[in-house]
Point group: C2
Chain length 369, copies 2
């Protein structure tokens, strides 16, 4: 169905009609000039993220539902990274002409799954046209008691540096997706060349046979055997609200925290910069999944680089007082990777063979290349 | 300066370094995973709007500073339309490769002017690349006491329908900008044809003369004489927070309110739909500026259509109890244009000659044509 047949208001009505808020703080959701929220006893946390087609995502790899789920998890992850609870999501879309109502339905299905997982209400947003691709802007609103909020600037000398889960897996998932895309386009190109040749020579029987070949190419099945975990990490990341719960139950309050969306090195630099401190992390302690390691070898890539600079893991990076060392030792899925130092000592990775390398932060202009 | 020379973090630091929050509710602005806001005694209002290059704006008409000012006013206007005060702005940008650091500086200069006007803090956001043009997503957060909030759904039978300012002027400003753009491109095309001809005939002297002509075309000055007000309305709209103040001072509380961004007809339909009522508005009462009327005649366009369906006026449309009739009569810059009826009576415009036309709502898919 074409979006213009429904119109902007018809579309928004279709998408939001059956939404029932689950949070007491959501007084009124979509349908007026602004959402109305009630946050009397808590601080309000607000985080926005933008996802542009061709930059943050490629719709040849990911469908609308997974894309929405991933984008929602990414922005909720920012609220968790403040030690807060996400409560509302505001959704703005810029839709190129090729998108149909069904695409938007799928997108909202993905959003709903992500929101259901963390009890978040879709409380409003905006939908407009786009001259070309798809632009997504998500704003997540959450809450935290004033004293519970964990900033980036609270790390102290001797604090332990911890990360949840494993690193580099989402990045290696992307490498596999890109490889399979290349394989597919090679097949399409070879096919197109054969067709052109047959047309040039007016070979009707061969053209007939080629038409059948085309169906086989369209049925192209990418080869993900043994890489399922990596593909999952890339296409269906999870915000680590569960880690916050674990920490609270263990009586640990991080001194600083950030989620790992741009790579460990970059995020750790943020913490050090804002906390006015330095750090030492150990290559051997960085948590890496077996599939990540195997795929790095296959692609002839440096494993530590993938773990340090590969983005989109959405794991939690945090610092804790050294006194909590034993408590954190007992917790599953959290790894101590190093410690905080004086600022004057700089930020370094200590390799397996004992060398020290200064950590470098990377932002988005680098990702384009 | 190229954005990649600064990097994402360098750019954000440059833009936000000197920002000092002016609102007590802004506990922490940009620089962490989320902004931290404190809204203990008030309801929180949140509104997001997206602006896509080639759809909502055309950078051949408007510069980055005006664009930012206009976008900020548009989203603040949503908060005013709830009878709230805007307090924070979250800014997300998707920047095509042609944009330089100076463009982003200009954009933030425009944002700052708009924010200064209404004491709003820039509290965070996201900056990323874009495959093609410029994508802007603004989220405005504001506050209102629970009982002060005015929704779209509170209009009652016999309520008076009022609008602030005048309508259709921003739309007619756009028509003039589009005409001048066409004139400019015609000149460029004619010039290019002359150059091609001269090259074909190898006329060196003529080519030399043409090169001088080019400078004159580049100095093209659009003809806005006598249309300054309309151009201003299109390029530098103002959110009508002053109207709310006037109403409060007069002791008037609107029963329903919305800002006019998509045209009077469309917004009035929203109020009627959500308030389960109908309406009658009088063509002769719709406030129209002299320049709007003159330009409509010049363009051979229907004046009432421009006022009903022309967007981006950002005036306030609201309903008040009929008992406030005399109070509103005394207020400058507010016009009573009709009244609310039973739902079963529908929504109609009564023309100067006494005919009734049903009001039609329009959304963005129509604007593309």
């Amino acid at each position: 169905m074409e979006i213009k047949d429904l119109g902007e208001f018809g579309l928004l009505d279709r998408l939001t009609r059956n939404m029932k808020p689950v949070n007491a703080s959501t007084c009124m959701g979509p349908g007026d000039d602004a959402a109305v929220l009630h946050y009397a006893d808590k601080e309000v946390l607000v985080s926005s993220q933008m996802f542009m087609e061709g930059i943050q995502f490629d719709l040849t790899y990911i469908d609308m539902e997974h894309l929405a789920y991933k984008a929602a998890m990414a922005v909720m992850s920012n609220i968790f990274a403040m030690n807060g609870q996400p409560r509302q999501l505001i959704v703005s879309l810029g839709l190129g002409k090729r998108f149909k109502v069904e695409d938007v339905d799928q997108f909202y299905a993905g959003l709903s799954k992500a929101c259901d997982k963390w009890n978040v209400d879709i409380a409003g947003g905006d939908t407009t046209s786009s001259y070309t691709g798809l632009a997504i802007s998500l704003t997540c609103i959450g809450e935290a008691a004033k004293d519970d909020i964990v900033y980036r600037n609270g790390a102290n000398e001797t604090d332990l540096i911890c990360v949840s889960g494993d690193l580099g897996s989402a990045y290696m998932g992307l490498q596999i997706l890109e490889r399979e895309k290349t394989v597919y386009y090679q097949q399409v190109e070879e096919y197109n060349n054969k067709v052109k040749e047959a047309q040039r020579n007016n070979e009707q029987t061969r053209l007939e046979a080629l038409r059948k070949e085309r169906a086989a190419i369209d049925d192209f099945q990418p080869d993900f055997v043994g890489k399922e975990y990596l593909i999952d990490r890339q296409l269906k990341p999870e915000a680590r609200g569960d880690i916050l719960k674990q920490l609270r139950e263990a009586g640990i309050r991080p001194t600083s925290m950030i989620d790992i969306s741009d790579g460990l090195a970059s995020e750790l630099k943020h913490i050090c910069l804002q906390s006015h401190c330095g750090c030492r992390i150990y290559e051997k302690n960085i948590p890496i999944d077996y599939q990540t390691a195997a795929t790095c070898e296959e692609f002839n890539m440096n494993l530590t680089t993938a773990a340090l600079n590969g983005g989109e893991d959405y794991e939690m990076l945090f610092t804790i007082p050294i006194g909590d060392h034993e408590k954190i030792d007992k917790m599953e899925g959290i790894r101590q990777i190093g410690y905080i130092t004086k600022e004057s000592l700089g930020s370094f990775l200590i390799t397996r063979d004992g060398n020290e390398f200064e950590l470098q932060a990377q932002g988005w202009p680098l990702k384009e290349n």
